[in-house]
């Protein structure tokens, strides 16, 4: 099995989960209502848990300990897409990002249940309940607010337009795309994006929101190759604060 290709895939998935998990956890204690605060925080925790599971697979392939990998790299060593590192802004943006990203994430893991890399296929099967909840939660909110009041529709629409170029950056082509596909590790970003577009269209069509013309959206790429926005490093600094003071600290 092509180990470089496999590691690249695992790193970008793990980094996506860790960074978005951290971002979404910034809403803890500040959510729009208590029940939603609990739900959103819990899903953020799921994401960090999933990143740990993926870093553990990488560790088994000879990479550093999960904590070392998570807390000691600089921004340019992270493979997450730029989308997940963007600041939260208002809740409408966080909800739209949650919807667009988690739809892709759930489809990706669903495809990976057939991966030729057995440990990854097993992990994908194990977490399908969590992913199912994340997409149920996202779809329900988008359908609710996407058809509720002129203000809610307008706010979601603006966030959707702002998010879309970054969302397409999720599917940035890997340098190992051919190997991943031919070795049946993963069916590839293009296939995933096709499925994602169909799914996104099917949910948005049940609301008063309008999708932009896919062809006119200019994707924001670079994240998978370590090219990030100015927002990632401050996030990493904050996330690794305790670890950097005392790497042996348990908390």
């Amino acid at each position: 099995m092509n180990e470089l290709a496999l590691k690249e895939l695992l790193y970008k998935m793990a980094d996506d989960q860790l960074i978005l998990g951290h971002r979404n956890s910034e809403w803890t204690g500040m959510g729009p209502l208590l029940e939603e605060d609990i739900a959103f925080s819990s899903m953020a925790q799921d994401k960090v848990g999933q990143s740990l599971a993926l870093y553990t697979l990488l560790h088994q392939l000879g990479e550093n300990e999960p904590d070392t990998v998570a807390f000691t790299r600089n921004a340019n060593q992270f493979h997450n897409c730029v989308f997940v590192e963007l600041p939260n802004q208002e809740y409408d943006f966080s909800l739209i990002r949650h919807f667009l990203f988690d739809t892709a994430e759930a489809l990706r893991f669903d495809m990976l249940t057939h991966s030729s890399y057995e440990p990854l296929a097993q992990l994908a099967t194990k977490i399908r309940g969590e992913l199912r909840y994340h997409t149920l939660h996202a779809n329900t909110w988008i359908k609710q607010l996407g058809s509720a009041t002129p203000e809610s529709i307008d706010r979601l629409q603006k966030s959707l337009e702002k998010a879309m170029p970054y969302a397409l950056g999720i599917f940035e082509i890997s340098p190992y795309e051919t190997e991943l596909i031919s070795e049946r590790i993963f069916e590839g970003e293009e296939k995933l994006m096709e499925k994602w577009m169909t799914k996104v269209e099917s949910i948005i069509s049940q609301t008063s929101l309008q999708l932009p013309d896919w062809k006119l959206v200019q994707p924001v790429m670079g994240g998978r190759f370590g090219k990030h926005s100015e927002h990632l490093q401050p996030l990493l600094d904050e996330m690794s604060e305790v670890f950097k003071i005392d790497p042996t600290a348990e908390w």
Partner: protein
Amino acid sequence: MASLDPRVNRLPTVTESVSPKAPLDQFGTFEVFVQPKEGKSFQHEGIVHAPNLEMAYVLAKEAFTRRFTCVSLYVVDTRNVYVSPMTEGEKNSYDFIEDNPEAAGVKESFEIYHLAKRGKQHIHVGTVTASSPQEAMVSAKAKFNTGKVVYNVWIIPTDAIRFTTEEEKELWITLPEKKFRDASDYKGGDKLKDFLEKVK
């Protein structure tokens, strides 16, 4: 906001015409029931605020089934829950239900719940068919009253409930390693003790 003091803000505003009472600026409530294990009865677990039944289902899932084992969950608008008189001591709530003759009308299904211990949860005991919640209460008395004290009975029209589908049960298939979600796993007390020892 008129004032930082909530008591001032709660004062009724001065009006000059007849107008409808303004609703509270908050969501309605929904009752949440969970099934802890396959084969076990559903039990009332708590309440969530939500704009509608489907949102209530989504929010209830994380609010009430995040840490403990659970195989299924359902929610219902609080306004669809009909309650019998609440009793205490040796008084059985069913004794306050009068046996009325069956009423005419379309029969529908109702779920029945008993409060067997004060301070505990209402637990599902079964289903009856009736043409109204009042008639369902009488049917429940005939079917489920064993003479053992029941402090309170709840009646819910089955059609009003948002159930978990067979397919949705996979919501509770998650990573088994969930200790990080348990406060006890962080051993806060031990850490504080160690720290205080060190400071000495």
